[in-house]
Symmetry: none
Subunit: 416 residues, 2 copies
Amino acid sequence: MRAEIIAVGTELLMGQVVNTNATFLSDQLTGLGYGVYYQTVVGDNVGRLRECLALASQRSELIVLTGGLGPTEDDLTRETLADFLGVDLEIDEVGLTKIERHFTLQKRVVTENNRKQALSLVGSHTLQNPTGLAVGDFYQQAGQPAYLLLPGPPSEMKPMFLEAAVPLLKEYLPQSTSLYSRVVRFFGIGESQLVTLLSNEITQQTNPTIAPYAAPNEVRLRLTVQASDEAQANQLLDTLEARIMAVAGNYFYGYGEDNSLVQETVKALREAHATVAVAESLTAGLVQSSLGKLSGVSEVFVGGFVTYSNEMKEQLLGVKAATLAEHGAVSRECAIEMASNTRRLTGADYALSLTGVAGPNEVEGQPVGTTWLALAKPDGSIMSEAFRFTRHREYIQHSAMMNALNMLRLELLNKK
Amino acid sequence: MRAEIIAVGTELLMGQVVNTNATFLSDQLTGLGYGVYYQTVVGDNVGRLRECLALASQRSELIVLTGGLGPTEDDLTRETLADFLGVDLEIDEVGLTKIERHFTLQKRVVTENNRKQALSLVGSHTLQNPTGLAVGDFYQQAGQPAYLLLPGPPSEMKPMFLEAAVPLLKEYLPQSTSLYSRVVRFFGIGESQLVTLLSNEITQQTNPTIAPYAAPNEVRLRLTVQASDEAQANQLLDTLEARIMAVAGNYFYGYGEDNSLVQETVKALREAHATVAVAESLTAGLVQSSLGKLSGVSEVFVGGFVTYSNEMKEQLLGVKAATLAEHGAVSRECAIEMASNTRRLTGADYALSLTGVAGPNEVEGQPVGTTWLALAKPDGSIMSEAFRFTRHREYIQHSAMMNALNMLRLELLNKK
């Protein structure tokens, strides 16, 4: 089914914002079985947006619009579409109630342009916004193309698409073209390396197909298959997955678009009924805040330390001055003391420690990227490992975080 | 002058590649004084690319095409444009020599599809490729729109644009009126509220123009002016900025596209030669890791605690059991003890504490979003403030982080 994406926003045309929405939507729509034929970006301009709608309505069966649902003067996507289709707008009560509650809690007055965000096309299927205020719309009349209206901020667009739009889009799709897909996630291997390992599978792919996506410190493979039903789809996907695991299974860590290494680590902690505490130097709280993003994590995560300076390593964690003097802060010895003292001070079952050189400058003569990780275990033993991460400061911190979580995850899995 | 960008590549429509080329080109063209009115992405398909060219040739004076200049079967942008314009292709000798040298060095034979990359429209201005093999083209006939052909890989497109295309594009412009812009950043006010305050400025805007952008917990205004030189531009921007500050100055925190509240907070700490430590509950390290992302932050940030559980608040921070029993963990009393004990334990000049309900469930009967922040100061005094944040878990954590940083930043600025 022919789909196209229209992103509305002058900031995109001025090059101030990268159009990652189009990439996300193209990826998602392709996965659902739609064929995306065009992406267009147009400014916050009624006339030009109308022209884009006129063109799209002639060539596509699904038109996804993102952006311009906000409260300001230049947010006019919904109004323009309603006018183009000759449909009225009405207030969505659920959306309005949420907006009013939001502003009451903020002790701010609800202005008219705030209410505007709860407007919805008469006869449309309104999409609520899990992470923001503007509602979305799915509008379709028999024999006409369908229009999906989504907000511009990715933090609002993505959840609304995944939670509210996907079911409608599956329904709208003719049964014949049923696509099923499975996302398989890998850590500790680069995209090019994984693709090389799988070159035979990839060159021979017809149905299922393999689409690799690289994210910082991980690679996802989306396996997509066309099948008559889910049973047949799973059979084909299982066969392909088995061949993939045969060559890359060591790097596999989980399934699913919304999964992550931190989620898999927390899952492993839950299953082991174990708790963890963390002491961070070069990551300065990145590991702990990534755990803290998950709701209900308090069952397995108690807290810990950020000992960014050497003084804090001594004062808060009781790392010996002699250790720092002899071996330096970026050393196996320091990482081990950080982990064991953290475990003792917090009483957690496991304690992770991270110490290294995030850059841009070297520390104690150690090159940028040098990192020591340690894990103190319930039996009192401590494992440690050295790394030499590359790229820039944030990437080095992210690499340290991911490897620390993976160290704990593997230890928990091996316990089984 | 009306410009538009057409990116050619099925990988973009499949969501496998982010269209950063369009962002780069939009930014560059805007800076040169062109008005970019559309960005389009179309697949490697002759028919659909022709349709895009037909449409673009009617509505734009400059059409920038990127992608599809490579050696493979599906690279057909140049051929399609030549056919659309009814212009022949000829080999560019400089480009061909470079290709031949490249393959000789690689000890590989030059195939026909390699030579293809040196093809150029007859009568065009050929652009050499500093970092790759495919040549570019700038083609313009009197009374017709101009066509700029660039390669797809950003590593080739950007150098070719900056080195070879910019001079031609400056020449093509009627008179060199340039655009200058300034980004002004605000915290503590919503986009809709800021726009309401500035409604007069915005409705009357001509030159300079005001473009608001909302990011989580902040709003940026991009002021853009068309001027003959930078001096005139700054004069016009200063005048507008003064009018904006008159109504929204209280929420202003800094300038620049790449600035942030955390950077401004660290700047204020540096200027005060002061250090900070942090104790985090609901944010679980988010404040500290956001500080840790900045290189050189060790001058002003020492570290701190993540006391996610109540036990940790007692064990690591020495919060009194009685305080937790009487007032609960989400209370002014707890926040104050967290801040003052953190300052004492770390010896930092300032100590921030954050305790609250990130959600999704309430804690100790306190609704989701309820948050207490405290700041312990060098003089031993402690200030605290209560908040009731809304939206989802991550947004509540982000709101708490931003407000804590701002609390410290304002205190440091008032010290001056």
